[in-house]
Structure formats: structure tokens, C-alpha cells
Amino acid sequence: MVTSANAYVPRQAAMAWLRSPWAIAISSGVGIFIGIRLPQAATWIAPFGTVYLGLLKMCVLPMLLSAITNSLGRLMQSRDARQYVQRMAMVFPLSLLAVSAIAVAMAALAGPGRNLTGETLKTLGVLVNQSGIDLEMALSGPIPTDATGGVTTLVDSLVPDNIFAALSEGQTLKVLLFAMIFGVSLGLVKAPTTAALFDTLDSLYRAFNQIIHGLTYLLPLGLCSLLAGQLSQVGIGVLLSMVDFVGVAIATFALVYLICTLIIWRRSGTGLWSTLLALKDPTILSLATSSSLACLPAAITSLSGHLKFNPQTTHLVTPLAITLCRFGSVIYFASATLFVVQLYQRDLGLAGLGIVILGSILAGMATSGVTGILTLTMLGLVLDPLKLPLEAVLVLFIAIDPLMDPFRTLGIVHTGMAATALVADRET
């Protein structure tokens, strides 16, 4: 397929340079500069980033559907399905527990939110006041129903009563469940005619993968405008007041990233440098797009293409790990909860820490069905059992979210890849 592309692309060397780490580094540098120094220019070039992100997301649902149906169907036919399901049942819960515990331990040791100065509290308070979170309520009349549902929304968002509605509304979880059921049933059909459908799904997947591959040439441009747009939204004042929390959260993400890189490196059996090179694309994409779904194709390509993990398993496990486990959100909620606990000077004890670890996993996984600010409201799932108030601190987390979202996405994608690497075998 490269030969045909050559016919339209005259200067192969220049094009190749666009994919080099240098191009990435330069464009991120320019993006960061524009975002911090020229917020006005950042809004001008923001549409490029939006278009780039839109093109990436365009490919996600077809790829998700074809990859999962295809791999699960073939897995059922090859009869080693049981082995992978068992591995997933082991790896996913254990890795969730591990990252949650790491985040809680880091936050408990570093103690963000402990002993804040009066000045810091004042800055945070002014921010809380600005956001106008006064509650206006009547003492009589009907009680307004709350939109947030927590666990029930997670369950509701699982089963699609109309798969086409789910596809057109981009409800990932429903599409995921449908693809799994469809894949399993397709695998159970023992007729030779299914081969044609598998081939169709395969070519569908390859076609979209080709688009994603082509889009990586535009990555420097997209990266620059996405980074600039994101950074221009971060309020520096708030950031400085919450600097200890931001620091601890980013340090936790870095630690988990390091551990996951080691896992992927050991499991892949290739050299460290080539592992890092293979991980470059999904890492940069996560930081630039803040959308774990948009990074899904890159993560699959990285694992099955560059690191030579079994494609079938990778195609199945990576989407599940990234869309269901939401490691990054789990880490973030664990850190955030401990920040709130220490901010309100609550003493938790060991049982309390256990609640934080489990609650963060639940809250993190509950974010799989939602997007935007609703993601952060899932923090209530952890704070409620601890009897801690959410509304005031939610404002603070929303304010720093433009900065934290990329790292959270990186945590979701990269840890998801590591979990996949633990489940999948290397291609021999």
C-alpha cells in the first residue's frame, strides 16, 4: 500500500520527517509557547486542533466495532478464548487495585491539601465564590431530580436498546457491549459463510487504520494547536494555589507511566529504545488530544504493529482496557479524594483508605460512559461514603482540569496498553 501512496506524495523524505520525534518536539514547543504567551493566537489556531481531533474520533467507532467483533469472533473459533478471558479476569482487577493503591499511597505520603496557608485558602475561596455555587431552593413544592446517577448511570449506559442510536450518539460502552455480543455469536456460527464477514470487518479495520496512519503526518500541526488551546485555558492563579495537588497527581501519573513502560518493555522482549519509540505515538496523542478514544487506534497499532503482540488479542483487549478500566481516572480520583480529605482535615484510618481505593476504582470505571464535566462529578461516588462535600472542591478540580485531563488520558491509554501487554502473548 505504501507504493500506491508514493504516487501522490512526491517528497518522501520531507513527509517522513513529519513523523520524526524532532517534528513532534518542535511543534509541541511552539504550541506551549503560543498557549502561554499568546492566548489570543491560541484561539485562532484552535480550529485546526478541533478538526484534527474530529478526524481521529471519526475512525474510532468503526474501528472499535470491527476490531472487537473480528478478534472476539476469531478467538471463539480458535478455542483458546477461555485462556484470555481468564487472564483478563485476573489482570484487570489486580491492575486497577494496584494503580489505585499507588495513587493513594503517593497522596497520603506527600499530603497535598494539608496545612494550606491562609493566602492559598483565600485564593481557592475566591474561585469558589466566583463560580456562583449558591444553592437556590424552595422549601415547598416538588423536589427537583438530580441528573447525576453514579452507578445506575453506568449500568444504564451498558445495554443498547438500539445499536444504531448508540452508534450515532457515540455511546462507546453500548457499542462495546454490542460488538462483544456480536463477536461471540459470530464466532459460534460454524458456517463457512462467516469467513466473508470476518474478511470484510478486517478490511474495514485496515482502511480506517490507514486513515489514522495518514493522520500522523498532520500530528505536528494538530499537536501545536491542541496544546496551545489547552494551555491557554489553564488559570495560572488557581494552578499556583493547587500546585501541591497538581504536583502529586502528575508525579503519580509519571510513576505509573514508568512502571507500565517497564511492564510493556519486559513483555515485548524488544530493546528499551525500540519500546519507547513504539510508545511515542500513543503517548503524544494522549497528551495532545485528551481523548482516550482518539488514541485507541494508535495504541492498538503500537502494540500489535511495532511491538508485535498478538494482533487478535490486542484488538480485543486494548479497547476493553481503555474504555472499561479507565486507569487514569482511577488514579486521579484516588489522588483527588485524598486531597479533599486532607483539605477538610479528616482523619481516615486504614478502613477509610480502603474505601478510597475501592471507591476510586468504582468512580473511575463509572467515567467510561460519560464525558466532560460529568467525568469529574463521579468523584462524588468516593466522597459520598466518606461523608465529604463535593460541590466546593468540584469547582477547583474543574478549574485545573485543562491541565490534568491530558495526564489523566495518558494514564488511561498507557496503563491500558500495559494491561493488554500482560494479557496478550508475543507473536512468534
Binding site: K122, M137, A138, P389
Partner: protein, 339 residues
């Protein structure tokens, strides 16, 4: 504490000077004196209290009617031209004096009345100024009262033409004085300790929890909010404090669950103490009322109409938030007392 501002406070009842002038009536005195007579008669209207040494017992309407009839008869028989000055007595009194006397509480209360660098400013003071300006008279502010009820008493006793002093309209007060239309419609508010509230939520929504509020709620001792609390939150335990600051401190410390007062005072707390905003949730109760109005003596019916009309033509109707925004600089200058 007694403070006098603008013009020195005159302890003698209003209109006394006119009465003294009127005593040497001679038949040779012509039109001018006739006018004065009419004036005295008109002034005798409301300030039946002036004749009476105790200010708390105003003249009965019956007596007033008699005096008016007799004096009017004299005046019209004397000279028909006097009709041109037949102003409503309550207005005439102010115009003759050339001065509007406004009662304001002696203690500063931002953003309504604050003394800044020797100057009295604030929302209520501005209202009083524009009223005096529109009447074409000077403004005298008297700050002898130390409680809100004393301010009302001053107006009732006619020791001031009216009061603009963050006075809430209550039925009890309305039995003795007249209220203008509200110049600031407020609602009742709760200042809640978030941590304590989170203990109570137990899976219910915030609205449900507040409606069924249990626990200690602080109110100012002897204020109308004691009654409101019993009525609106029967499950809550009433804790009465002598001062508002003590209530706020108790909420911040978590000694009590909530404080109950008008929404402006509630919102003022989180604005003046932003470092406590993380602990505190402000709640405005939309189906409650606490409206501020100008207080007038019951006899000043015409002045009431004038005041109402003046308030109606205010360029921008005040709301709690616009007031808080507009007067935000008061708190920047007056650093609030920290707990």
C-alpha cells in the same frame, strides 16, 4: 453609641420654631401671617405629637380633623389666595424646613451605611441623598438609634421624617409605621457548614436534606429569624447568639450546622471571608421573603406616595447580587475580622 452626622441633631421636636413665630399674631399682620397660620395648622396635623411631650402617643385622627377644620375655616375666610400653598402637611413640613431628616442605625452595616474617611456612604445613604435631592431639600442624617427597632421608634415618634436603614418589612412593625414599596427584595438564606451537611445527606439530594434540616441552627437573639426558624425548620435545634459574628464563627468551626439570616448577610460572609468559602455553603430560600423598605410615620401618607414613586423610578432595581458587586470595595478597604 450616638453619632451625629451632616447637621447637628436637634433634640427639640420639629416645627417648634414655627410655633413660636406664630404666637404674636396681630390683626394688622396681613397676608404673610395668614400663610403662616395655615402652615401651623397644616403642621399641626401629624405632629399632634409635638404638642404632646411624650413622642410615643401621636394625636388621634379625630382631634386632628377638628383642628384642621377650624384652622382651615379661619384661613380661607381670611384670604382665599392661601389655597396655592395648600400642600399636603407632611410634605409642607419638610419643604418649610428645607431639610429631610433621615434616621439611620448608629452602627455601620456595609453595604447599606458605612462611614468611610469621615464620609457616610452606602446604598441606604445614596437612596436618602437622591430622595432629598429630588425634593429639593438638604439631607440630615440622625444616627441616635442603636437597634433596628429603635430606628423604627424614632420614625414613629416623628423624630425623623423617615428611616432608610436596612429595615425589614415585618407585620409587627407595620402596625405602628408605614412601609414604602421594597427597595431591595431579599430572600432568607442559610449559611451551612459543608462537612456537617455531608454527614446528614445520606444519599438524599441536598434540597431534601435542607427541607428536613436537623441539628443546631444559629440565629441572632431576639431577631425575627427565631420565629422563622421554628416555622420553616421545625426539626432544627435553635441556638441563639447575641452577635452575628459569633454565629458565623460557630458555623466555620463546625460547632453548629447552619446560620439563618437574610441572603445578603449570608452571601456577605463568603465574600468577606473567602478562606472559609470551602467550608461554607450558601443557600437562598426562593419561597421566602425579607424585603427592605423605607419607614415612614403612619401619618405621612403623601410622603409615602412620593417615596414610592421615587423608588419606582430608580434607574436600576437593586438585587442582592448587584448590591454585593457594586459595594464590593467596602470589604477590600475594611479588612474583615478573621476568626
Amino acid at each position: 453609641m450616638v453619632r451625629k452626622l451632616a447637621v447637628t441633631q436637634r433634640p427639640e421636636p420639629l416645627g417648634n420654631g414655627v410655633g413660636v413665630n406664630a404666637t404674636p399674631v396681630g390683626w394688622q399682620a396681613s397676608l404673610r401671617v395668614g400663610c403662616l397660620l395655615l402652615l401651623v395648622a397644616l403642621l399641626g396635623f401629624g405632629p399632634g405629637a409635638q404638642a404632646d411631650p411624650s413622642p410615643s402617643t401621636p394625636a388621634t385622627p379625630g382631634a386632628m380633623a377638628v383642628s384642621t377644620a377650624s384652622v382651615q375655616g379661619r384661613a380661607t375666610s381670611a384670604l382665599g389666595e392661601a389655597v396655592e400653598s395648600a400642600m399636603p402637611p407632611d410634605m409642607q413640613r419638610i419643604l418649610a424646613r428645607g431639610k429631610l431628616t433621615v434616621a439611620v442605625l448608629g452602627q455601620d452595616n456595609a453595604p447599606f451605611f458605612v462611614e468611610q474617611e469621615g464620609q457616610l456612604t452606602g446604598l441606604d445613604i445614596q437612596l436618602a441623598r437622591s430622595l432629598a435631592e429630588q425634593l429639593g431639600v438638604t439631607l440630615e442624617i440622625t444616627r441616635l438609634a442603636t437597634t433596628f427597632d429603635q430606628v423604627v421608634d424614632m420614625v414613629y415618634g416623628q423624630r425623623a421624617d423617615l428611616a432608610i436603614s436596612k429595615i425589614s418589612r415585618t407585620l409587627k412593625r407595620a402596625q405602628r409605621v408605614r412601609f414604602s414599596r421594597p427597595y431591595l427584595r431579599m430572600r432568607q438564606g442559610l449559611l451551612v457548614n459543608r462537612l456537617q451537611l455531608a454527614e446528614q445527606v445520606q444519599g438524599r439530594s441536598m434540597v431534601e436534606t435542607i427541607r428536613d434540616l436537623r441539628g443546631k441552627v444559629g440565629v441572632i437573639k431576639g431577631s425575627s429569624y427565631v420565629g422563622f426558624l421554628k416555622q420553616k425548620f421545625p426539626q432544627a435545634t435553635i441556638v441563639e447568639y447575641p452577635a452575628w459574628e459569633a454565629i458565623v464563627d460557630a458555623v466555620v468551626q463546625g460547632d453548629i450546622l447552619a446560620a439563618y439570616r437574610d441572603e445578603l448577610e449570608i452571601k456577605k460572609v463568603v465574600r468577606t471571608q473567602p478562606d472559609a468559602a470551602l467550608q461554607l455553603q450558601t443557600i437562598a430560600l426562593t419561597d421566602t421573603q425579607d424585603s427592605l423598605a423605607v419607614v415612614l410615620p403612619w401619618s405621612s401618607t403623601h410622603l409615602l406616595a412620593v417615596v414610592d414613586q421615587a423608588l419606582e423610578t430608580l434607574t436600576t432595581p437593586y438585587t442582592v447580587d448587584t448590591v454585593l458587586d457594586e459595594y464590593a470595595h467596602y470589604w477590600d478597604l475594611h479588612s474583615p475580622q478573621q476568626p
